[in-house]
């Protein structure tokens, strides 16, 4: 039985909160760790036979063959070493009815709904399967997706302390049944138009901001010149005024000041946090992940988003994505696949589910990312098994490994931190007793953020 002992002194369930104090002394010396292996997957493509990697204070400092362990370092042996797996769609540690109220907007952050007091034993179970980070996203029942976040799993640290990126994407759902009632076809198409409208609002907001900044600069330049003119003409103006005042007094008429006119200062556009996020999406700074399943909706979504050239779109779910594979491939739109529960209540409608879709899309050239699906709390623990099932349906094992390491990291802009074992990345490392997806393979060690959090036999 895989005895999962965490190096951190976890006051499991004694209610004492010692588990959250910072790294204890004995862990300080272990800050430098050397991991030796027979097969080191730096990335699914780049494998070093007999490779080793050296971790110093949570960062990978050296990889290669035959490294020497610095004095005081902890040495770990294993047959296969991989980067920590990343679950592209999980709702672990989220407050259970997160995002199901109707005040959710596009600027609502999923990282605000992270329950930092989730039981650390759940994190141990997920880490025990080799998954070290996940993109948190509210479940399908959520009204709107809001901003997703990438969070690292670390039983000793609170969820808000181990957030790798607080706003990694904007997410939403199209055509999803809302609290039990299926959405009819007109609403579904309506939802797509609303998303297209929102994206153009975002773009318009962006242009409005730039335009205002431009106009303001010009206005300020003009006003500065006018200021200089008035300054120089002040003495003359003062004399004229006194002359005019004496004249008025002589004629008994009432003295009137000269009327001053200047063009108005441009007004700043009103601040709108939702539109600000949409602007970032339209400008390509934030990727957009939309959960959509039926072919009709995928096609009209692709059609509608053609004109947003810098938009980084990703489809989640995509049960019928195979039918638009060419366009997905051409526009390099990735598809996040997870084992859809049987679509449609009646058995007749049951479609082939499981990971067959992942293999088919991969062979059609579409970039596939694997997720465990936001339904179950600790679903992330079974991500490696889902990758194995995808290989069981014909996906290349290298592509399956990439679908849970480098691809999600690149998609959500955290590839500088996790997803591969390059030098400089943070140390999320998994040590296996054999090939990662074989049934007899056990996870022997897991390092999360440089700390050894799982030590199997």
């Amino acid at each position: 039985m895989l005895a999962i002992i965490s190096l951190m002194t976890l006051g499991l369930h004694s209610g004492s909160t010692s588990m959250f104090h910072s790294a204890s002394e004995d862990q300080a010396t272990a800050r430098s760790v050397l991991v030796r292996s027979e097969k080191l997957y730096v990335t699914p493509k780049r494998v070093i036979e007999g490779g080793a990697l050296l971790i110093q204070d949570g960062v990978i400092v050296q990889i290669g063959r035959g490294l020497e362990a610095p004095e005081g370092a902890r040495v770990i042996e294993g047959r296969v070493v991989c980067p920590g797996f990343i679950d592209a769609w999980s709702s672990f540690a989220l407050e259970e009815n997160a995002f199901e109220d109707d005040r959710v907007g596009r600027a609502t952050r999923a990282s605000d709904a992270l329950d930092s007091y989730v039981d650390p034993r759940f994190e141990q179970q997920i880490l025990g399967a080799g998954v070290t980070a996940y993109r948190v996203q509210p479940s399908a029942g959520a009204r709107a997706g809001g901003l997703g976040a990438v969070v690292r799993l670390h039983p000793g640290k609170r969820a808000d302390q181990s957030t790798l990126l607080a706003d990694c994407c904007l997410a939403g759902g199209i055509g999803l049944a809302r609290d039990g009632r299926a959405v009819d076809v007109f609403d579904r198409v309506g939802e797509i138009d609303r998303w297209i409208g929102a994206l153009s609002d975002g773009q318009a907001y962006l242009e409005e901001q730039n335009e205002y900044r431009h106009e303001l600069e010009e206005w300020q330049k003009k006003i500065a010149e006018k200021d200089k003119e008035l300054d120089e003409a002040f003495k003359k103006a003062k004399k004229d005024r006194e002359k005019a005042q004496t004249e008025a007094k002589d004629k008994g008429t009432e003295f009137k000041e000269k009327e001053y006119k200047e063009d108005k200062k441009p007004k700043a556009p009103r601040f709108d946090e939702d539109k600000a996020e949409l602007a970032r999406v339209a400008s390509g700074e934030l990727p957009l992940v939309l959960e959509v399943h039926r072919a009709l909706e995928i096609r009209s979504l692709l059609e509608g988003t053609k004109r947003f050239t810098r938009l980084r779109l990703a489809i989640a779910g995509g049960t019928d994505a195979l039918e638009c594979a060419e366009e997905l491939k051409a526009r390099r739109i990735p598809v996040i696949v997870w084992p859809q529960p049987t679509v449609g209540g009646r058995p007749e409608e049951a479609r082939v589910k499981g990971m067959g879709l992942a293999a088919a899309l991969e062979s059609a050239g579409v970039e596939v990312i694997l997720g465990s699906g936001a339904a179950a709390g600790i679903g992330s623990r079974d991500l490696p098994l889902l990758a194995a099932l995808a290989v069981g349906h014909g996906m290349q094992s290298e592509a399956a490994l990439a679908a849970i390491t480098t691809r999600p990291a690149r998609m959500f802009d955290v590839s500088d931190k996790v997803g591969s074992l390059e030098v400089g990345r943070q140390a999320d490392v998994v040590v296996f007793s054999g090939e990662p997806f074989a049934a007899t393979t056990q996870v022997r060690f897991v390092i999360s953020g440089g700390d050894l959090v799982v030590e199997g036999r």
Binding site: T17, A98, R103, D115, Y117, D119, I223, L230, F234, K238
Partner: protein
């Protein structure tokens, strides 16, 4: 709540002024002779002590105090004198405790406290002499609370402190989730900052334009002196606020500004440990952490070390023993929450839920039962809540100069068989059990003539129909759903 009257009153914020009720008898002298006088937590007990109260304040206390000839005397050789209990946070005594608009800091509970509400009579019965009334927990930023004494017919007679602090909540309001609540809190303070910056920017543009007009017209510009005050506040400041006279700031934003400038205390409700982090973060980011008191549910004991780190006092709402269910095995453990808070030396006050089995003195007794020293237990219902409310020098214990709030117990104060016989508030007798009709009814059951029995008529036979007009089969299904919801739990896998 009438928004118009509230807003004018909100403008005149008397911060922290202790208004002794106007009509306390100027020359009232009262002497209480008790079999034993317990002065306060950790203070010596005086046998056959005398407490002399003049003009509502304790003039002298001790065994050999000479009683002046013109003082009325309460001679109670068999009773035990004890300081009045202080309730640090309660949302009762009002008709509707919650608002539905989010930022409502400009409102005050002053307009919704109902002096003849049953809660004040119940408080006297259980020995509570000072109560901080705040709005309910179901809010984002609610109105301002006030400290009252449970005596008097008008609000002014009851007032002890006109503003005790603004109520906020980190736990999602009904119909919202943690993320939208955090967003609403951020938006409220973000809007304040943007509003002030816009105000200052418009003032500056106006001044620039006036300067240019004067140059154009050739006149000298008289000096524009700044009529307002620069913004204090430790977290963030808007530069140039001195240009704006404080009167011109929208009265709906004024209390929030006072909060950010650290002039107004805050009571932040946290229903779950994760909310403690949200509350401390918002308080720290907006500069009122030093004047924040957390109102926590027992479950927040898990965040005790984070609370200790922030150094803020807490009011523990709910039972002192919290039953926690292990999410994996379903086994329950009972956590003695005040013990946890004490271990991490978090300063805490207890607060009575609405039932009397959870009244302040019952909870203090349970703390002693679970191993806490009598001093700490009594302090958590007298001196510590007084300090939290900034009334440390006025109430909480029987010392010379403090208010004459005295309870007379029939026996050992923390014993289950003891009753509060008499309550004296600021030298005036507020309650006497021998004249308390409702206690007679609770004891003997026979409701004396023409008094409404406690909580509804005794003989009204209520047919248990929980949804009016609902066909019982639906009703049965509805009960079935509820029964399923509290399912035994063993059956599920996930």
């Amino acid at each position: 709540m009438n928004v118009f009257t509230a807003s004018t009153r909100a403008a005149a914020i008397a911060i922290g002024a202790l208004l002794l009720s106007a009509n306390a008898a100027a020359d009232g002298k009262l002497a209480i002779k008790a079999g034993k006088v317990v002065q306060g937590p950790g203070m010596p007990e005086i046998d056959k002590g005398v407490i002399l109260i003049e003009n509502g304040r304790i003039a002298a206390i001790g065994a050999d105090v000479k009683v002046p000839w013109d003082a009325t005397v309460i001679d109670a050789p068999k009773l035990v004198a004890f300081p009045g209990f202080v309730e640090a946070h309660s949302a009762r005594g009002m008709d509707r405790p919650n608002e539905n608009i989010d930022p409502a800091a400009f409102l005050s509970v002053r307009d919704s406290i109902d002096p003849v509400n049953f809660y004040f009579e119940d408080s006297l019965r259980w020995g509570i002499t000072t109560i901080n009334i705040q709005q309910g927990n179901n809010c984002v930023i609610a109105g301002q609370g006030m400290v009252v004494r449970p005596m008097g017919i008008t609000i002014d007679e009851m007032t002890v402190k006109t503003v005790s602090g603004v109520k906020l909540s980190a736990t999602p309001k009904a119909g919202m989730s943690a993320a939208t609540q955090a967003q609403a809190l951020r938006k409220a303070f973000g809007d304040l900052q943007r509003y002030l910056e816009q105000l200052v920017q418009e003032k500056k543009d106006g001044n620039d334009r006036a300067r240019r007009e004067a140059l154009f017209q050739g006149r000298d510009l008289e000096g524009e002196n700044a009529k307002g005050r620069a913004m204090e506040g430790s977290a963030w400041k808007v530069a140039g606020l001195e240009l704006i006279p404080r009167g011109e700031i929208d009265e709906k934003q004024v209390p929030l500004l006072a909060l950010v400038e650290g002039k107004l205390p805050a009571f932040f409700y946290c229903g779950r440990p994760m909310d403690v982090h949200r509350a401390l973060e918002v308080a720290r980011d907006n500069g009122f952490l030093a004047r924040t008191t957390l109102v926590i549910s027992p479950a927040c004991y898990k965040a005790a070390d984070v609370i200790a780190e922030a150094g803020v006092p807490v009011v523990l709402e709910g039972p002192v023993v919290f039953t926690e269910t292990d999410p994996l095995t379903g086994a329950e453990t009972e956590i003695f929450v005040p013990g946890e808070l004490k271990k991490k030396n978090v300063r805490f006050a207890l607060s009575s839920a609405n039932t009397t089995t959870e009244s302040l003195w019952f909870q203090a007794a349970q703390c002693v039962g679970r191993g806490m020293t009598k001093t700490d237990a009594v302090a958590s219902v007298t001196t510590i809540p007084a300090e939290i409310l900034g009334l440390g020098k006025q109430v909480g214990s029987l010392e010379v100069g403090k208010a004459g709030n005295v309870l007379l117990f029939s026996g050992e104060p923390l014993s289950v068989t003891s009753w509060v016989e008499k309550v004296v508030i600021e030298g005036k007798e507020a309650y006497d059990r021998s004249k308390d009709v409702r206690v007679k009814h609770l004891m003997a059951g026979k409701a004396p003539a023409n008094t409404q029995a406690m909580g509804g008529s005794a003989s009204a036979e209520k047919k248990v129909v929980c949804c009016e007009g609902e066909d019982p089969a639906e009703h049965a299904k509805h009960l079935e759903a509820e029964a399923k919801k509290k399912d035994k739990g063993e059956g599920e896998d996930k």
